[in-house]
Symmetry: C2
Subunit: 306 residues, 2 copies
């Protein structure tokens, strides 16, 4: 990964709403990266934990405002807070089309949906880890109405946290995470439940393949249920693809699964991509990610909220 | 785990046929545990590697003879070797009913089927690891015709290698491993293949749940195909149970999977089990394992081949 020169315009402040595992980790990572971060959480203990990591605590937020709250709380997350009307607003929710539908009408081009592909089975501010985003992929949505300078400001936040930015539309994102996150949670649950039917002897003989295949069932069931139901259409479609694969003759199925793993390209090839929506989305569709940016591309041209 | 006093009768020698990852690791572990081990492999490089770990190389085998060869080679594994007609014969194959059907008629009560639940995606003598069996579960079959003193001699071999012995019938074993090993391999293949259909963006966003759920697709496809086809009936039944789970409403499915994980008992309770088939099988069915044995139970009573 090549981190390229930072832009010459000053980075805007960051406001983080919700200081649980994701928001608290992000705020701490950005403080460590030298960003000015203000955070807020309804829980005083979460505020205290963030303050101890150098996060300024307050309700007045501007620059890039990150909504790090559960999906059901997203619509009301800004209530009672003083948010700069010019601020760019992003979120960390695990589905993007529903959040876009909820926040888009009010925020318009100021809203940039995001989803960092990290987090653990743990949750809450006690699970805060400033290294949580290091090397993680962070999907960042580019809709037809997205203002590109705002998208770049959010991308910088993700890059400063140590992540790599994958450009995608909200719909593309939701289809992709259905295949690689939501359906895996359902398969893990089905595998564990079926092994439970098989009985204690089966569970006693469970070794690597079962432990790997069921690790995520340790996640909070309410969280997982909310996640798959919040992305019901794409998850149903992705599950159908899996069931279709399971109906193939086993030699074909096993070979097809192995081939996907074996075809994964070794290493990574640096590329320079023009800063336009079409080119960025093509990068994401090709399995690429943004790892930095050239100052020249934005020098003097960022009209963002910073 | 409480390792109890060893029996007062001398442990019989061990012969290991096939010195690849499993056989080579077992031979090395037993040498380290002070057992007298003779090994054989058709590959001179495998013989040399075993010899370097203190394994005597030869074709004359007695005591407990372990067939550590692939399933298709099992029936002919003893051809060309000089095996004591009183020897107890066991194997490490991943299915037990077909091997019992193959070896049982000729060997009768002298055959004790076994299956250590370990091994990695690697194979061959270069993947030898004397610690491979440490803490692993090792299923050991108790059929109506199994001679219990011979079963104990094989159990001692597994215990000496660092494993814990799970008593089961061959049919029970095959049903159990279908649920916790063979079906997980099929689900991992289906998940990987379906994500491949979803495309590079999906694979680029793949994080923990996908990596965990597809790790085993790195295994050799021919090995995996042989494994599931060699246990086709139980694997089909176990897969049907998984498909039945996947047809449930998602909140129910997620809760059921989580409950199996959450219900796993913390810790372990030492028990003493009489040395009879019914009691040992009950231990296995309850999810327990044999971790050692009292000398008194066998003192002077082992008519085995040692």
């Amino acid at each position: 990964m090549t981190r390229l020169p930072v832009p010459t315009l000053p980075a805007p402040p960051v406001g983080v709403v919700g200081l649980g595992q994701l928001g608290g980790s992000l705020a701490a990572a950005l403080v460590a990266a030298g960003r000015e971060v203000t955070g807020w959480d309804v829980d005083p203990a979460a505020r205290d934990a963030a303050a101890a990591r150098g996060v300024r605590i307050g309700r007045d937020l501007g620059g890039v405002v990150v909504l790090a709250v559960p999906l059901p709380a997203m619509a009301g997350a800004l209530e009672g807070l003083g948010v700069d009307p010019a601020a760019t607003v992003t979120d960390l929710g695990s589905v993007k089309t529903p959040v876009l539908a909820e926040l888009g009408p009010a925020l318009g081009g100021r809203y940039v949906g995001g989803h960092p592909m990290c987090g653990t089975e743990r949750s809450g501010h006690a699970a805060t880890d400033p290294g949580l985003f290091t090397g993680a992929r962070w999907a960042l949505c580019l809709e037809p109405g997205t203002e590109l300078p705002r998208w770049l400001r959010v991308a910088e936040v993700a890059l400063d946290a140590g992540a790599e930015v994958v450009p995608a539309t909200a719909a593309e994102h939701d289809d992709a995470v259905a295949a690689v996150s939501h359906v895996p949670h359902l398969l893990a649950a089905a595998l564990a439940a079926a092994a439970g039917e098989a009985g204690p002897l089966a569970l006693a003989l469970a070794a690597g393949s079962f432990r790997d295949g069921t690790r995520v069932v340790a996640s909070d069931p309410a969280f997982v249920t909310g996640m798959v139901q919040g992305n019901a259409g794409p998850t149903t479609a992705a599950l159908s693809r899996v069931l279709g694969q399971l109906a193939r003759p086993w030699p074909e199925l096993v070979a097809a699964g192995h081939a996907v793993r074996a075809a994964a390209p070794a290493g990574r090839r640096p590329v320079r991509v023009p800063l336009d929506r079409t080119a960025l989305l093509a990068l994401g569709r090709a399995g690429g990610a943004v790892t930095g940016r050239l100052a020249a591309f934005v020098e003097g041209h960022l009209p963002g909220p910073g």
